[in-house]
Symmetry: C2
Subunit: 375 residues, 2 copies
């Protein structure tokens, strides 16, 4: 451990009840000559070039996966590569994960068109549990509003359908670069309307990861605009109902040797052309802009790894929803990364699937609706 | 933003569903010559000497407090200084905070001896709310099991008593260096037994911050050993039911220009002589050692700032309690530090007080027990 200069090193100042107006010596040293780590008067932190071991709380499987995922050389296509090339690249990863998930979690996967939108309906091979009949989950896949259709939705749905013994409808929503906001919100809404024909709204849950998490929040706002009833519960994973930003937008890239998500440190949505024409102040884009919209959210499950660039905004979403009286449930796995639970071989992924299944089981309604002709 | 070497920078790899066995080129570059940021094969992260602005999600008041608390020169006494000198130093801060809190949250403070243990009973000046009669909170102050008695307990209790309109009993438990584990657990238990004479256990809540959070968890384990009924709910703030460690034990000190808490990165309790004779495997010291003990925890509120060295272990506690079926509620304020809520002038502190009050209101029982002679 490096010895740090400074008086009072013996007991870190942060053991003091924090933040009182203190009688302190003015810091007159020249920041240009000060050696990190230090904090300047404007509260900017100046770090040293430290090494951080993999988290002592995470699994060995997680360590191995982290080393392979972030320690190797990857050859993702450039941002200006043809979208089909980029989609094929990520589809290769997602397909491998989805096929691995099916080995562990046998499911039926059936293509269906609901409300004019392409979906896959995923159900456990041993059948939907009796208490889950009448309930359904909608999954909104991740992939930067650019890719992830198909295999990306499958990897996010297969373990949940199986562990929860519940039907999961994963939606192939329109995305960039071909389409722009609000195309995906419209598609989710079309599927939701169709499911409302034979499901009570309180028996429907919606969840998504990354872009799918953003879309989950946007769907709730869109449903309000369309005066549709709220679903029973939602899950926003590795994403926010508001802007990205905060500490993790700086630290996560550094911890993974990756560049930051474009725009993430400034609260912009420039990482995807899907949002190129929006205002980030629009509550239909980022519901956190409106306390009124937020206050109508159903119970919300929030999940991330501590090394996810989005985790600060996930925590922020939890606080903001709590402030307006929405029931939240937040879980953060230390040391883990964005969408870690798409690796079904991690113990932490199994913990996550169990938590998701229990959350929806606890919050979705139970009574089955008789099919109403004309819905 | 620094340009990073590597193919595929255009879209960070972490947008890929995470952690699949990837076909990647073996990293044959010599780590000694590689430029950070990068991750080595053993998953160790090598960071650059970056600057991190104060969190975009935190308040301006938080920024000002952070700059003053961590940006100035502090003159805390050395670890080998006389304990009276050290206590006087921290008492000065805590007293200033407590008196400030009383300006905002007027209370009565009454010294009482309960079960042979010195306490202060803190009640809102406008009186305990009708629905809070029959309920009581026990506060266990922070301070490294070295200081914090008196004013440290007051600053942690005054806002909660006032916002919750509930009585808070803050306990002057025996601590180091004069006393060692399990002295504090015994004292908390003595107060608890006394309160059980005229309170139903489900109407009692216990919460603590930092050392007080550790002690809260230990008290639950000790009550089980003594075959006492569980209290209605607990709050563990800026602390863990298990070891410190994980990412925050490395990052928080760096973000605050402070040395790490001694032993924190290795899961040791060497930061205080109170634990000098214990085994860290003992569930009475760290309840997370026993699933059986953990499983009997009442509903648990977990709170920290993201820049708290303890936050990784707080998240870990949430996961481990959830795994054994205990109801948890986790909230993390981005950018904030260890015990931030002891500054009553931060907006985030007010949010925290409200969340704590609502949590106990939701989880404590309501019926009042008739006093039973002889308990």
């Amino acid at each position: 451990m490096h010895r740090l200069p400074a008086p009072g090193w013996a007991v870190p100042i942060f053991l003091v009840a924090g933040g009182a107006p203190l009688t302190v010596a003015a810091d007159t040293s020249d920041p240009a000559t000060k050696a990190p780590p230090f904090v300047s008067a404007d509260a900017t932190a100046h770090l040293r070039a430290i090494t951080v071991p993999f988290s002592s709380f995470a699994s060995e499987e997680g360590r191995t996966a982290y080393g392979r995922l972030f320690g190797g050389d990857h050859h993702a296509p450039e941002a200006d590569a043809n979208i089909a090339v980029r989609r094929a690249y990520y589809d290769r990863f997602n397909s491998a994960l989805a096929r691995r998930a099916e080995e562990i979690y046998p499911v039926h996967i059936e293509a269906q068109v609901l409300g004019g939108v392409k979906t896959e309906v995923i159900t456990p091979k041993e059948g939907v549990a009796a208490r889950e009949r009448g309930r359904v989950l909608i999954n909104l896949h991740g992939g930067a509003f650019l890719w992830g259709e198909g295999s990306g939705g499958e990897i996010e749905s297969i373990p949940i359908a199986s562990v929860g013994r519940i039907a999961v409808v994963t939606v192939a929503y329109r995305q960039g670069p071909e389409f722009k906001f609000p195309a995906a919100s419209e598609d989710v809404t079309a599927v939701y309307r169709e499911l409302l024909r034979d499901h009570k709204p309180e028996n429907i849950g919606i969840y998504g990861c990354s872009a799918g998490g953003i879309l989950t929040a946007e769907a709730i706002a869109w449903f309000q605009k369309e005066q549709l009833p709220m679903p029973g519960a939602v899950g926003i994973f590795c994403a926010s109902a508001g802007k990205f930003g905060g500490d993790s937008s700086f630290l996560a890239p550094e911890l993974s040797g990756q560049p930051p998500l474009p725009g993430s440190t400034e609260g912009k949505l420039s990482f995807t052309p899907y949002f190129s024409d929006v205002s980030v102040s629009d509550p239909l884009v980022l519901p956190m802009n409106s306390k009124q919209v937020l206050a109508q959210f159903p119970p919300t499950l929030l999940i991330a790894g501590s090394r996810d660039f989005a985790v600060s905004s996930v925590c922020q979403t939890d606080i903001e929803l709590s402030k307006v009286g929405v029931k939240t449930e937040l879980h953060i796995w230390d040391g883990l990364w964005h969408s870690f639970f798409n690796n079904p071989d991690l113990p932490e992924s199994r913990e996550m699937y169990s938590i998701v299944a229990k959350f929806f089981d606890r919050h979705l309604g139970r009574t089955v609706r008789s099919p109403t002709p004309g819905g």
